[in-house]
């Protein structure tokens, strides 16, 4: 009986110590870049190739080390820049780009806890043609990611992975939408 009590107390103490030692860090930009959203040939064909500049990114939150990991605005901005660059959409010049992209992280829905953490991101993407301010795309994309104990034992790390996965899936969906946009080359010039 005493041994069982001691064991239970030891487990609880280790759990509490682990909670104190582990600190949350924000989602990492490089981990939010989709790996295979589009094939290279798809982006080469797109009329939006090298045509988009990121003009504004917002809605991110700073991570409190004592609470769940969040997605910061600067990390999201960098993830978008890397993604658009990787798939050939990013313009080489912010000033001369035919289109500007505004992105806003409306909500990052996180569970309060659990072994399986499902995070859902809601991001608004607004693509505007610079020469006449015509909005060619304006939508809110939803994407979820599930992180289990197999991905990470520590809940804090698991949540970060779920955040990154959700944003990665969201950006991947946006890239697919970009590719599907019915924009002819004549509308770009």
């Amino acid at each position: 009986m005493n041994q069982i009590l001691t064991f239970v107390r030891l487990v609880l103490m280790i759990g509490m110590l682990g909670t104190l030692i582990a600190c949350s860090t924000p989602a990492r930009s490089g981990h939010m870049v989709p790996k295979s959203a589009l094939s290279l040939s798809h982006s080469l064909d797109s009329p939006l190739r090298n045509a988009i500049a990121i003009s504004k990114v917002g809605g991110g939150e700073k991570t409190n080390p004592m609470l769940w990991s969040k997605v910061g605005t600067s990390e999201l901005h960098e993830a978008l820049r890397l993604s658009l660059s990787q798939y050939g959409f990013l313009s080489t010049s912010d000033v001369a780009a035919p289109f500007r992209l505004e992105v806003f992280l409306i909500e990052l829905k996180q569970p309060p806890g659990g072994y399986t953490l499902i995070v859902t991101s809601f991001i608004r993407y607004k693509l505007t043609r610079n020469r006449d301010d015509q909005v060619v795309y304006d939508d809110v994309i939803t994407a979820s990611y599930k992180a289990t104990v197999d991905d990470a034992f520590a809940a804090i790390h698991r949540m970060k992975l779920a955040n990154e996965g959700s944003i990665r899936a969201n950006i991947a969906a946006f890239l697919q939408h970009l590719h599907s946009l019915n924009i002819t080359k004549s509308l770009i010039q």
Binding site: L5, N64, F104, K109, Y115
Partner: protein, 177 residues
Amino acid sequence: MLMRLLCKVSIVEKTKGAIKGLIGSITILIILGLVGCARPTGYTKSASSFLTGAKGYGYSDKRINGDEFSIVVLGNPSTSKARVAEIALLRAAHLTKEQGRTHFVIIKQKAETTEKAVPISIPLFVGGVLVPVPVGEKTDKESMAILLIRLLPLQPAYPPDVLNAAEVIDNLAKHLE
């Protein structure tokens, strides 16, 4: 032999006590669970969890830029998509008045069903201590409403497709607040 009999009776009595305690704990948990989930989410600002910072049920809003705002409503599993949409619209109207305006337009609206994995635990006595032991997981469906709005500047007249904040509040506040 008498000692053996006394020991047997003692073990049986202790086991009965433990089983009664377990049944009592499970009953209390079931009642609390039913009470917690029975009522749909009302018009309430979502609060962040003290332990994790995760947002709870209710509404929240952010300024996107200038006069554009986003409103998000998360409902518990007992809340319908229609109800979360109404809560979002009511919050949009209140937000409009708080910003000193009278009318707003809806830029975008979305209704979503999201999932949440909920661990299933049963309380067990381990060495005299009640410990929740995880035995599985279930998935709850939660309704969410997203509303993007633009507040209009104060002017003498407005187009017919614009929403009047005061009218929205009059129509929705009675059964939501």
